[in-house]
């Protein structure tokens, strides 16, 4: 169950998108996400939606995986669309029954919103699917490095993020083990009142905390032994260098931004 989460997972590969510099990818993703919200009609939205589909194709990540990522928010998409259908009263009335009125404006907005959320998920999950967590952390670290001048401990924060990412699978495995061990002692985690179920979590969380503290303590020792002291003198094995690919990507989103603004201008707004 816990193991089925695909959002935030990294799928190693060798595609154009995989090879982009993490900083470039962060910036391009950020711009693309803004562009989604700049879109005002179906033409501009279609452009960015196609962009997200083409990007997925280039990345060679299977659509199955991407759609699995959507699973978590099916409900959110459905809810937003339904609300739009019922509460938007613009446009022609398509259907009227009792107090409920469905208008063309409502349907349009509903579809628009759904596509927008789906595109949002596609683009943002593509970032994590194609970038190793370490590269992502490094990228954020370096993009934020000007903040070091303001005494923000960017390095330390990035290190914390790396360690968190490193230990998430280990802790998930550990929760699984502890749950099984307590179930084997007859712990009932599935039935009973809310209070009873909350109480049933104690035998899971106490060992988890105790073990995590022990891990943290041992990890701190090991890091100290490897000369980590949180200073700024650290170097990196992987230097980040922008390549022609990154400029292609920048150019791409820039052209797209221009196209979206034009399309917004020439065709009327849906919302």
């Amino acid at each position: 169950m816990v193991k089925d989460i695909t959002i935030g997972q990294y799928f190693p590969g060798n595609s154009f998108i995989h090879k982009l510099d993490a900083r470039a990818k962060l910036i391009v993703t950020f711009i693309a996400l803004i562009e989604i919200f700049v879109c005002k009609n179906f033409f501009s939205l279609a452009l960015i939606f196609i962009f997200s589909i083409v990007s997925i194709l280039i990345s060679k990540i299977s659509f199955k995986v991407v759609l699995k990522g959507l699973k978590m928010i099916y409900l959110l998409i459905a809810l937003t669309s339904i609300l739009q259908i019922f509460y938007n009263e613009k446009g022609k009335v398509l259907l009227e029954w009792w107090k409920i009125k469905i208008t063309s404006g409502g349907v349009n907005t509903a579809i628009f919103m759904a596509v927008r959320i789906i595109t949002l998920i596609f683009i943002s999950s593509l970032l994590t699917y194609t970038t190793s967590p370490t590269a992502l952390t490094d990228g954020i670290d370096r993009l934020l490095s000007p903040l070091k001048k303001l005494k923000v401990p960017v390095d330390t924060l990035a290190m914390m993020m790396t360690i968190a990412l490193r230990f998430i699978p280990t802790l998930i495995e550990e929760i699984d083990k502890i749950m099984n061990a307590q179930k084997a002692r007859g712990a009932d985690l599935e039935t009973g009142s809310l209070l009873k179920r909350a109480k049933a979590l104690i035998p899971i969380f106490i060992p988890l905390f105790v073990n995590s503290f022990r891990r943290a303590y041992e990890l701190a020792f090991a890091m100290e032994c490897r000369c980590y002291n949180g200073s700024n003198h650290r170097t990196r094995m992987k230097t980040m260098k922008f390549s022609w690919r990154d400029f292609v990507a920048f150019l791409w989103v820039a052209v797209m931004l221009a196209a979206i603004i034009l399309l917004n201008h020439f065709f009327g707004a849906v919302i």
């Binding site: 790396t162 041992e218 990890l219 000369c227």
Partner: protein
């Protein structure tokens, strides 16, 4: 010979801090020890015998209560030398999960050299060399949590190797591994010692691992009770058992037979040696 000394303990004692008013007993009692460059030393002892404390003292994680420890002539109680000492003596711990920092194997191996502020190109070279030396090069892009215990432990060893330390102390590196993992880690250690001349200090409670060392030290309640070649140490069955350890079955059998009057040597280390000794014994008439 004095120049060959890598880690030197001069009358060292240490005790852990107590939570209550009554102080804890000494974990290490008046230890004199000299580990020379290029040696493969096994430190044996039951849990709580003080063998792990020894590792933390040698790496300047702990400072002695009394006495002095020198690593390549550097006093470990001098805090300004901490960095240099850890570049000379690295430590690999028991639980492989709790010493791997990064989410990709090669990035974890790079962690040490990155902390030392080494040039990116040089780090790359060291990381590749270190991974090759423990046979994990083809796993360099893997995620550590998906590796087996033996593989994780070899990544941890590579992480120390990449810092180009002269000595690696391994604190029960095989205790949590299956037989295959134990063998992999043992082979990696032997290779580093024989081919690259790295000084190895292996802390363990498995006697059959100690067989492969040049020198064996047995600890019991904070003291060194035996120090010699595996052959010399294995002959002392009584002291070993008093120290809460067990000889490998082949050695135990040789001792038992000797006590029953069979002409067997008391310094058997391996099954092969037992078979040979038995053949000699039978052709020589068997009973004393």
């Amino acid at each position: 010979m004095e120049n060959d000394s890598l880690i030197k303990f001069n009358d060292v004692s240490y005790r852990y801090e107590s939570d209550t008013d009554t102080p804890l007993p000494l974990a290490i009692k008046n230890i004199d020890l000299d580990i020379r460059k290029g040696e493969f030393v096994a430190v044996l002892g039951h849990n709580g015998s003080g063998k792990s404390t020894l590792a933390k003292l040698a790496n300047a994680i702990l400072a002695p209560e009394s006495g002095k420890i020198f690593v390549n002539g550097m006093d470990t109680s001098d805090e300004s030398l901490e960095y240099e000492i850890r570049q000379t003596v690295g430590v690999v711990f028991q639980n492989p999960d709790n010493q791997i920092v990064a989410t990709i194997v090669e990035e974890d191996v790079a962690f040490g050299p990155e902390n030392l502020g080494i040039e990116p190109k040089e780090i790359r070279r060291r990381v590749d060399d270190a991974l090759k030396s423990v046979g994990m090069y083809e796993y360099r892009f893997h995620e550590p949590h998906k590796l087996s215990g033996g593989q994780k432990q070899r990544v941890a060893i590579a992480g120390i190797m990449a810092m180009q330390t002269e000595c690696i102390i391994l604190d029960e590196p095989t205790a949590m591994l299956d037989p295959k993992g134990r063998e992999e880690v043992m082979k990696a250690m032997q290779r580093l010692n024989k081919e690259l001349g790295v000084t190895i200090v292996l802390i363990t409670h498995y006697m059959d691992e100690a067989v492969k060392a040049d020198r064996v030290i047995v600890m019991d309640s904070g003291r060194i009770v035996l120090d010699g070649t595996p052959r010399q140490v294995f002959a002392e069955e009584e002291t070993i058992e008093k120290a809460g350890l067990e000889l490998p079955d082949c050695a135990k059998l040789a001792h038992a037979l000797k006590r029953s009057g069979v002409n067997m040597p008391s310094d058997i280390l391996t099954p092969d040696e037992f078979v040979e000794a038995f053949q000699r014994c039978v052709s020589g008439g068997g009973v004393l």
